[in-house]
Amino acid sequence: MKAITLFFVAGIMAVSFFGCGGGEGSRNGAETRSERSSGRIDILGAGASFPAPLITAMADEYRGVTNNRVTVNYQSIGSGGGIRQFVEQTIMFGMTEAFLSDEVMKDVESSTGGRAFNMPITLADVVATYNLPGIDKGLVFSADVLVDIYMGRITRWNDSAIADLNPGKNLPSLPITVVHRSDGSGTTNIWTSYFSRVSDEWRERVGFGTSVSWPVGIGGNGNEGVAGAVMNTPGAIGYNSLSYALLNDMAFGSVVNASGNIIEPSFEATTEAANIELPDDTRILFTNTPAEYGYPIAGFAWMLVYENLDNNNAISNRRQAEELVRFLIWSITEGQELSESLGYARLPGAAVERNIAMIGEVKWEGEMIGKELLQVVL
């Protein structure tokens, strides 16, 4: 018995050590999987966990579309892991909620002789969820109010700043409990980038990213951790993705956008937010969107693909490259049909346009396979 217990203790300690090194498991997966390409093709991708349910559903659907010929294998290992594996060329496409930095773009250009494309594949929207007895919908927030709450300056719900935005609502004198994500997440990236856009003080003191140093509040692990803390604490405010809030019947507030309109979060309002003038490489954070009726706290999730596919070690032949491009085209067009039912907003026309322009420049050994396939498929 003693031996067994000791073994158990040792095992648990070992697991807690191994936990630190996770996320690199499938380093050589791409090569071995692609060897057995006798008719069937595996497309291997990895990255952000937020779009994982959508990509998995797309993969299922796409296998049906291609009569089981093409299997898309997506591993949800987080944006950081997605970028690293993409740069190390162990996957055919990466997925991230933070676009590649100029530094990484430059590295890719010098190592493959071509650009890295950041292609928007879906949209993430973040809503302010709250727990106020008696007020289960329709609370209105403004950018300044949200920043002040997360800075710890507004500490009670009946503060005049909140009351002014919500005339006729009977706001209680509860203390505000601020809840944020404790794990690094794209949701946090969008939430804090919105704050950085609307408040100079936030940008200089806290900044934005997948994890930041929060001035106040408690951290919940994952969407469910934040939701749990919010739902169990009267007077709490947190932030969740819209689909998660809808699924769990949480109260969430509307936000006054840059044009002064009160926007109730919805998939349409999120799509609308991204329907703006996009740069050619789509590397843009459009929180606090200039779109008149766009929801201001939203962002892209990007698929990462090399311009010169032949220089990605994870892709071994032209057929694989072509199937990858076909999947890309499908996922930004027909694949988008899956969005609403899974709780994602559809890509706006402006983003699809940019994507098609980028796919048109994808090459295999100098040949413009992207352009050829676009002509065949569309």
């Binding site: 300690m13 050590f17 944006s79 803390a229």
Partner: protein, 329 residues
């Protein structure tokens, strides 16, 4: 006489080569290989952690990293491990302090007082607590335990302090329910089974003669336990406590779910805090910056070293405190 007869009869049978010397050799090779692989594995972990954390340790210096109190992946890109080291040590030490005496008492009850059937039931229930995955304990903590603690203890305490001793408020911190105090109590609950099981094993190993001698001198049952049983098993009890401490240091999920995850040092009693495993599990997946990632690896290295030290202390204490003082009888 009997022994000689038995050995003789085996030797008379013709045995195949594998039972003579080849079997021993094979067994020796396998066992040595397995033993070495454990050493290699630990070495490989240390090697990778050291290599990966090099960037952070070079940037901030080893001392600078260990004593730095800022953890800011957003603006300054400065990383210091002190809040997490402090959080880990405070939660683990206090959890052990809370868990130790109840656990030893339960073990003594199981081993010495309880009727066999009752001891059996309690023992299995204790094992059951150890078998519950920590993420399940964490979920129970989020939805049941933390709100209950908040309403029963934290809020009344906070209100009392606000009315009578306002100077205590910064020490107490916000009474949200998710914070250091909750994490410590949950941790204590989680390590009780380990301390109990190891203590009970240590008590059971006390030779019958020790007990009988104490009884023969006229000791009551409690005197016997105090004078004969506990001194004899104290090495095992201490080792059990230290191994439980090691378990508390490495506990990740339940703590990350309940401690509130706040990197701003210093922490308060009820307010949110953070530990080394909790910051790793929280930020590792989505850490995009190289320095951020390297700093998380460096925290892993610190955790590795601290756990190693705890295990070495456990081994030393077991030897020193055992009744023979480390000498074999």
């Amino acid at each position: 006489m009997q022994n000689q007869h038995t050995t003789g009869s085996i030797a008379e049978k013709p045995v195949s080569i594998i039972y003579r010397w080849l079997g021993d050799r094979i067994f020796l090779t396998v066992v040595v290989a397995l033993g070495l692989s454990i050493i290699l594995l630990a070495g490989a972990m240390a090697w990778v952690l050291t290599g990966e954390s090099g960037m952070a340790l070079k940037e901030f210096g080893v001392i600078g990293f260990l004593t730095g109190t800022t953890w800011d992946p957003g603006v300054q890109f400065r990383f210091g491990a002190l809040p997490f080291i402090a959080g880990t040590l405070i939660t683990s030490v206090l959890a052990l302090a809370i868990a130790f005496y109840p656990a030893v008492a339960v073990a003594i009850f199981i081993a010495e007082y309880a009727p066999r059937w009752l001891g059996y039931i309690i023992e299995n229930l204790v094992h059951l607590i150890a078998a519950v995955p920590s993420v399940v304990i964490g979920i129970w903590g989020i939805f049941v335990f933390a709100p209950w603690m908040r309403d029963t203890f934290y809020f009344p305490l906070y209100e009392w302090a606000a009315n009578h001793q306002p100077s205590l408020l910064p020490v107490l911190g916000s009474p949200i329910g998710y914070g250091m105090a909750t994490a410590i109590i949950i941790l204590a609950l989680m390590i009780i089974p380990f301390t109990t099981a190891l203590t009970r094993d240590a008590i059971r190993q006390v030779p019958k003669e020790q007990r009988e001698a104490a009884r023969a001198l006229g000791a009551t049952k409690w005197e016997m336990i105090r004078m004969a049983v506990i001194p004899y098993s104290r090495g095992g009890i201490m080792a059990g406590a230290i191994l439980s401490f090691g378990r508390a240091i490495g506990e990740t999920m339940a703590v990350a779910m309940l401690i509130g995850n706040n990197n701003n040092f210093p922490f308060s009693v009820m307010g949110p805090a953070a530990t080394m495993p909790s910051v790793i599990v929280n930020e590792f997946r989505e850490a995009v910056g190289n320095l951020h990632l390297s700093s998380l690896m460096a925290i892993g290295l610190v955790l590795f070293v601290i756990s190693l030290i705890v295990n070495l202390i456990a081994a030393y204490v077991t030897r020193k405190l055992s009744i023979t003082g480390g000498q074999s009888i």
